[in-house]
């Protein structure tokens, strides 16, 4: 959606980075799952391998050191027995795990040597000897004739505790092919495990993402099916995970608002069509009948005059509707000027007083003096006049209509109250709705189509003010309009008023 809107040139660089091809949530979740669980497998197999390796090395070194200690004991015996030494160093030479021992003087004369050692483990392959057996740290890996061997060498004295520097060197080697085979096998097993783990992780990750996201798909599926004719559909909230429940609830609330606006809109179109139908059909029929045969000039004049009245009514209605439509637009500007409220109310009073007297009513006016308001004067007149005309029309003879203007905190409060019929409580919430008429059967002869109070409300809202209605049946009605005095009302309070009083 976003990528369809071409971003302004200045942001093109950044925007193009944002416009990367979107990856699905499931793909991302799967990838993260694979990466994390696979790393875990990799690390643990690595540790296991390292542990095994170090265990084997330790074991080999033990063999080497044991051998060195035993041979040292034999070499340093009070009465060295060459036969014993030969047996000792030859005993493991044929075992599956061959261990070789060589004892030589520092100048290279070999004193003792395991059989086959001369060819199997050349003495030059040994690392430099440790200063003594007790100081030996560990063996070294070497390869001889394709065979892995672990070797160690150390200096050795032929006498215990002698001050003479050790004159002998002992070299020990052990065949570690078995270890190497074990390690090779272990490596192969680990690789197999890792590959298997990779596959399992991928499958599991995919499945987890699929199952985890399935409620989201359900929501998307449900919303995808909602159209203008199925606006009453709601997303099933029960059984959704907590995080998505919130989303679904928000979505359902949006659908509620959409549905109610939509039904109001279509009701509104119905009403417009209905209200337009009467004058149009009057004009059509009158004109058709008139053209049916020749008529006198007076007859033609009469028909034209009747058409004129109908067109005038249509024109007024269109203008009212246009006004309401414009007022709904949040960008609509009004032409504010400072007016003297007392003077304006006096004009309206003078204008309507004659009509009130003819209807047998008293039209009273009271107003705080020096009360200024910053309003669109035409709209102000229009709103108050609508209220006064309504009050006069719905108050029986002998009643009173009171028009008052007051300074009320940060508002100019204009009230129109009457001692008329009042409005039933079940109608009261709807009287500001367009085309809403308390008396549904009343005709449009008087030119009133039920837009008057909607216009009053729109005027109030356009000024950042509010309108309230209070009515008791058979007692009377009072409509209060508040216009904020500009400059004294902080903007956030204006918003507050608009939102809360609308």
């Amino acid at each position: 959606m976003l990528s369809a809107d071409r971003p302004p040139a200045a942001h093109q660089g950044r925007a193009s980075a944002r416009n990367r091809k979107p990856r699905s949530l499931a793909t991302r979740l799967t990838a993260w799952y694979i990466v994390s669980s696979f790393s875990l497998v990799l690390v643990s197999t690595g540790i296991l391998y390292a542990a095994l390796l170090s265990g084997l090395v330790h074991q080999d070194d033990q063999i080497l050191f044991n051998k060195m200690h035993v041979v040292r004991g034999l070499v340093q015996a009070l009465v060295p027995n060459d036969a014993n030494i030969a047996q000792e160093i030859g005993e493991d030479a044929d075992a599956p795990r061959q261990t070789y021992v060589r004892v030589q003087t520092r100048d290279g004369t070999i004193l003792h040597e395991s059989p086959g050692m001369a060819t199997d483990v050349h003495r030059s392959l040994f690392p430099a000897p440790y200063p003594s057996i007790d100081e030996a740290q560990g063996g070294t890996m070497i390869w001889m004739n394709g065979r892995p061997l672990r070797v160690v060498s150390a200096r050795l004295s032929s006498r215990i505790g002698t001050a003479v520097p050790p004159e002998l060197v002992i070299q020990v080697a052990t065949d570690v092919s078995a270890d190497e085979n074990l390690l090779a096998w272990y490596r192969a097993a680990l690789i197999a495990v890792v590959v298997a783990a990779l596959l399992i992780c991928a499958a599991a990750g995919h499945q987890i993402a699929r199952v985890g996201l399935s409620p989201l798909r359900a929501i998307s599926h449900a919303t995808g099916k909602i159209g203008t004719t199925t606006l009453s559909t709601r997303i099933e909230v029960d059984g959704l995970p907590t995080e998505l429940r919130e989303l679904a609830l928000t979505f359902n609330q949006m659908l509620n608002r959409l549905e109610s606006s939509f039904s109001r809109l279509s009701q509104f179109s119905d009403d417009i069509a209905h209200e337009l139908r009467t004058p149009i059909s009057n004009m059509l029929v009158a004109t058709e009948v008139a053209l049916n045969r020749a008529r006198t000039v007076e007859e033609y004049r009469d028909i034209l005059e009747s058409n004129l009245e109908d067109s005038a009514q249509l024109s007024r209605m269109v203008q009212s509707l246009l006004f309401l439509a414009r007022a709904d637009n949040p960008g609509t500007k009004i032409d504010r000027e400072i007016i003297d409220v007392e003077h304006e109310l006096a004009l309206i009073h003078d204008f309507y007083e004659a009509a009130a007297i003819e209807s047998g009513l008293k039209l009273l006016k009271s107003c705080d003096s020096k009360l200024d308001a910053t309003v669109d004067r035409t709209l102000f007149q229009r709103a108050i006049s609508n209220l006064v005309a309504n009050a006069i029309a719905h108050t029986p003879r002998g009643g009173t209509v009171h028009l008052s203007g007051r300074d009320y905190r940060e508002f100019v409060l204009v009230e129109v109250s009457d001692t008329g019929d009042g409005i039933a409580p079940d109608h009261l919430p709807y009287v500001f709705d367009r085309f809403y008429r308390v008396d549904q059967t009343r005709s449009t002869d008087s030119g009133h189509v039920g837009l008057g109070l909607s216009i009053v409300k729109s005027v109030a809202l356009l000024h950042g003010g509010s309108v309230e209605i209070d009515s008791v049946e058979a007692k009377g009605t009072c409509v209060a309009l508040r216009f904020p005095k500009m400059g004294t009302l902080p903007p956030q309070l204006q918003d507050y008023e608009i939102v809360n009083r609308a």
Partner: protein, 222 residues
């Protein structure tokens, strides 16, 4: 006889407005597009120019700007299908003299045309008398056939408006605007009530009726 220029692209509207104005004693030139309108406005000395805002070629705003730039001060009346406050303000700021929103009543247009033409002329005090009815604006006195008639201040204003425009049909909207300063399409029934009360004093006691109703349009003194 005043010569008017009407620049209006819609054929039927141009035809009936032209006919209507001609029947009320004006000479009307009709242009159907903006360039032609501008050309005529600059070439010919008109008493008043009626400009539609939406025109092919060149719109009404631009015609007005151009003729004002060339130093022509002929009054201009705008006709427009748009009545946002900004449009009205724009029209007046550019130097337009009045602004009428479609749909409008022909009587309304006529009244505004006459009012704009009158602005340049001096007011005729003689117009406050009609047949045996006499209105003295300075002493606030009305007599008919020599007999004084008591009027409220607003009734006096209403009668003097009708006498100033004797022979012209005044719409209810115009009456509400001029007498009560009600600047919106006010409740027309209320104007009827005022006229009825004025008639009771000015016409009812006499055989010859002076105030006449023109159905669908308004009222006239003749």
């Amino acid at each position: 006889m005043a010569k008017l220029l009407l620049v209006e692209d819609e054929e039927r509207a141009a035809a009936y407005l032209g006919t209507g104005l001609a029947e009320h004693g004006f000479v009307v030139d009709i242009c159907r597009d903006g360039e032609e309108g501008l050309h005529n406005a600059l070439e010919i000395d008109y008493a008043l120019i009626i400009l539609d805002v939406m025109l092919p070629g060149r719109d009404g705003w631009s015609i007005l700007q151009e003729i004002r730039r060339q130093g022509c001060h002929t009054p201009v009346l705008f006709l427009s299908a748009r009545d946002a406050v900004e449009d009205r303000v724009k029209g007046l700021e550019l130097g337009g003299d009045d602004y009428l929103v479609k749909p409008f009543a022909f009587s309304e247009l006529l009244a505004r045309v006459r009012s704009l033409l009158r602005r340049t002329r001096t007011r005729n005090d003689d117009l406050h008398d009609f047949m045996d009815l006499s209105l003295d604006p300075r002493r606030h006195r009305v007599t008919r056939g020599g007999k004084p008639i008591e009027l409220t201040p607003k009734e006096f204003l209403l009668l003097s408006l009708m006498l100033e425009h004797q022979g012209e049909v005044l719409s209810r909207t115009l009456i509400a605007e001029q007498v009560w300063d009600m600047n919106f399409d006010a409740d027309s029934n209320v104007v009827d009530v005022h006229i009825r009360r004025l008639r009771a004093k000015v016409d009812d006691p006499f055989d010859r009726k002076l105030i006449h109703t023109v159905r669908g349009l308004g009222y006239v003194v003749r």
